[in-house]
Amino acid sequence: MLEFINQPWPWWVAGPIIALVMFSLLYFGNNFGVSANFRNMCSMLGGGKSCEFFDFDWRKQTWNLVFVLGTVIGGFIAAQFLMLETQIGISEATKSDLVGLGIANPGAEILPPEIFSFESLLSLKGIIIIIVGGFLVGFGTRYAGGCTSGHAISGLSDLQPASLLAVVGFFIGGLAMTWLIIPSLYTL
């Protein structure tokens, strides 16, 4: 059992657990949507004073903020106690593509250390990827009314055409970034 937990988990373990998290949140009378917390946090930080979109009682969303706090703790527990190795099992084709983009040891860690560090924030590449990328995630999720959890999981599970369209959008953006922009961005 412990041996199983310490290995990387296959998709058929992770997917059903995600569905059960969604079900539990519905059973508790709420719904599964992580990006709503960006809005909750804007409200918590006083955004309601300058913008009516954030003028609501964020305390009613405390359950979701607690959920997010839990995800941080979960990440910590997994990293500290449940990872025998951090090697990411990506395909050989992916590795060779990434070597071509200047990433020295693709998959050796969870994130490429060339980009995701505080030092990289001193470079144009790091600023664009971390700061502009984060901005697009915050802007786009709220514009679309949800992210992967709200649309791709909850919305598709409820067969909502709006969520299917949102997921099509996620892929238009993701494919354009990966195939057209990342090759120049990562070799900056």
Partner: protein, 137 residues
């Protein structure tokens, strides 16, 4: 105490996404390159089981813990909002390799630089809030 169950769910979600490598930038890149089934398996199996769960909830008029019938409100359909908003998010998702959940989970994994991405995400959401009346929905 009434929030404790949400903390436990969040912990389970954070452990699962870390252990299944969903939080890895590499896995998202690989997904958009169609070079592995892994991410499609994670999202696909979640959705298949999710459809079954949602249908059971609706057909049995299942009650929530508090005794009310579980209400899953439909999303109002329109083109610009989901297509443009979704595309903007997709650009950011592939760039950072993280959707909002993994951004927070990665902070727990020790990648404190993701706090900068989260702060930037908050700013993005705030700017959307300010501009939203002028955007097509």
């Amino acid at each position: 105490m009434k929030y404790f169950k949400y903390l436990v769910l969040g912990i389970a979600f954070g452990i699962t996404l870390t252990k299944a490598e969903v939080v890895s930038w590499y896995r998202i890149y690989e997904m958009f390159k169609f070079q592995s089934f892994h991410m499609y398996g994670v999202i696909g199996s979640a959705v298949v089981l999710g459809i079954i769960i949602t249908q059971i909830i609706k057909r049995t008029k299942m009650k929530s813990m508090s005794g009310d019938v579980i209400d899953i409100p439909p999303k109002k359909f329109s083109y610009p909002r989901y297509l443009i908003g979704g595309t903007i998010f997709g650009l950011g998702w592939a760039m950072t390799g993280a959707c909002p959940g993994p951004m927070f989970i990665l902070v727990g994994n020790g990648f404190l630089v993701m706090l900068v991405a989260i702060a930037s995400g908050l700013l993005g959401t705030y700017v959307y809030g300010r501009l939203r009346h002028r955007l097509p929905h």
